[in-house]
Amino acid sequence: MSKAGTNQRGEMPDPIIKVRDLWKVYQSGRVSVQALRGVNLDVPLGEFLSIVGPSGSGKSTLFHIVGGMTPPTSGEVWVGGRNLSDVGDGGRTELRRTTVGFVFQKFNLLPNLTARDNIRTALHISGQPTSVFSKDFLDILDLLGIAGRLDHKPSEMSGGEQQRVAIARALATRPAILLADEPTGNLDSANSLAVLKLMRDLNERLGQTILMITHNDEAAQYGHRIVHMRDGVIVESSLTSGH
């Protein structure tokens, strides 16, 4: 993957995420809230996409639908070749287990387990061997700089370390897509910078497709492309300065 969105012959492959006329309506009592209103989006394999927008713009809802956390109201959402409009709860669970990995603002590590056991839990859930980490994954741990912190619990780690463990856990199952929801929102500027660089490295070195939600315009610049959302629709899509 020399450049996001094209294969080695320079052709545009099928997008790994394809969204067509996506609507999401939440019912709150008698009030209907249209969180997404006809969103269309393509994310090619290997792209690092930043989604920005104010609170209530629908970016988190889009994130949750693409991640299989909630079903769409209408429209089509293809993720890794699977149409999420056609699958039920079991299908979305399967998607989370095999195709996407999540990184959250609040790290969301299992607090009682060590970093190693957090990672092993993800491997166990995805049905992969848990006793020994693969060579590729050990390289990722080295890249993330947490190989020496695996036997520590989250409470014994800094925020930056916790987020790097969360990234490692999300990547342990080798998901096609890494979904990051405000991954630097709880970090100081130094750790934020480190995490963003790591994500860019993961994208460049491993070709990892990344979809990142952020409020921070500076953080958004680490992606290849920035999608701006407002009031449930995509209002702008632009390549970042480096692309």
Binding site: T93, L110, N112, L113, D117, H124, I125
Partner: protein
């Protein structure tokens, strides 16, 4: 990995875990202590019956094995029974319950001693006055009495003439004539023990006596030993069933509440697991595995507490409350605790399974 998750969850909240285990242990202890008491009492009865040295027990018409009708037989029947074939010794005793499982037995000490081989005295001596009683070492320990001391029974002060080794008929003995006077049963006995020329004749002689004394209660000692069981004590089986039911209810309620709290406390963790693709069965297995651990812990604690209960009962009332450890009931008590624990985890487990991952992750 589920085991690791469960283990860490259990370890992470030690107070909740300990309280749950202790509460689940309560019904297990109740069941084992009750069964232990029943069996201990019955085993003690068996040993003491055997300690009489008789081959046949003879009771009044309609008499049952585990109940006594004071002075229901004329004492002269002892002499009559002595004339029966193969009978070489006969002695009548008058039994009077004195509360709880205890009774005082009026005996003809010479005839009883001849049949049983005589008392072994730890302290003192046999009857010397009509106000003398003998107590066995367990009862002496329970009442803290010694030879030469006084004891009030049946509204009368008795002299403790001797302390005897346990295992012969009862824990308390008084002269037969004194008991007959006190109870207004002059010339009466409750039961007659018969010793035969050969114990092998017991069944044959008992059968012959049953024909001759049709309505009387007649058992060979081996038959009697077999009949001394939970079923022969009126309502005991029902009582045990009630305790088992209470055990199930307590275990169910405790685990249900405990797991309900655990699910609430772990809402976010459940959301995290769901975000990783944990299936409903994975989440349910985790909750059930934790309930299983609590149930198992409660069972082990309950078994240990039953030993503590036995020690306490032996220290407080060794004669009245002999508690046995009945290994055969460990799996039953365990099954009650585990079954109740697993049942109690079903609803919290369903709650966890149904949690929306987005809401669960937003839970603070």
């Amino acid at each position: 990995m589920i085991f690791r998750l469960v283990l860490e969850n259990v370890r992470h909240r030690p107070v909740r875990t300990m309280l749950s285990v202790l509460l689940i242990a309560v019904p297990v202890t109740l069941i084992l202590a009750l069964i232990g008491l029943s069996n201990g009492f019955l085993e003690d009865s068996r040993k003491r019956s055997a300690g009489v040295g008789a081959d046949i027990l003879f009771k009044a018409p309609g008499g049952s094995l585990m109940t006594f009708s004071t002075g229901a037989l004329p004492q002269k029947i002892v002499d009559v029974l002595m004339t029966e074939p193969h009978v070489v010794q006969a002695t009548g005793t008058l039994v009077q319950p004195i509360g709880g499982f205890d009774s005082i037995n009026g005996i003809d000490i010479e005839a009883f001693g001849k049949m049983s081989g005589g008392f072994v005295y730890a302290e003192g001596h046999g009857f010397q006055t009509p106000d003398d009683v003998l107590v066995d070492t367990w009862y002496a320990q329970q009442r803290k009495v010694h030879a030469g001391g006084k004891i009030n029974l049946l509204n009368r002060d008795w002299n403790v003439a001797g302390i005897v080794e346990p295992g012969k008929l009862a824990h308390l003995f008084a002269p037969l004539s004194s008991m007959q006077d006190i109870l207004g049963s002059t010339g009466k006995v409750s039961q007659v023990f018969l010793k035969l020329d050969d114990p092998k004749n017991a069944d044959k002689v008992a059968a012959a006596l049953k024909v001759k004394y049709a309505d009387y209660g007649i058992w060979s000692i081996s038959e009697m030993q077999a009949l001394i069981s939970v079923d022969s004590i009126p309502l005991l089986k029902n009582f045990i069933n009630v305790i088992l039911g209470i055990g199930v209810i307590i275990g169910f309620a405790v685990v249900s509440l405990s797991m309900y709290m655990a699910v609430l406390q772990r809402t976010r963790e459940i959301g995290i697991l769901k975000s990783m693709g944990a299936t409903k069965s994975f989440i349910m297995s985790m909750i059930m595995a934790e309930a299983f651990c609590l149930g198992f812990g409660g069972t082990v604690a309950g078994i240990l507490f039953s030993y503590a209960s036995r020690t306490a009962m032996h220290a407080i009332a060794p004669a009245s409350l002999p508690q046995a450890i009945v290994y055969a009931w460990w799996p039953i008590a365990g099954a009650v605790a585990m079954g109740a624990a697993l049942l109690g985890a079903v609803y919290p487990g369903m709650m966890a399974v149904r949690q929306d991952p987005i809401e669960a992750l937003a839970h603070e």
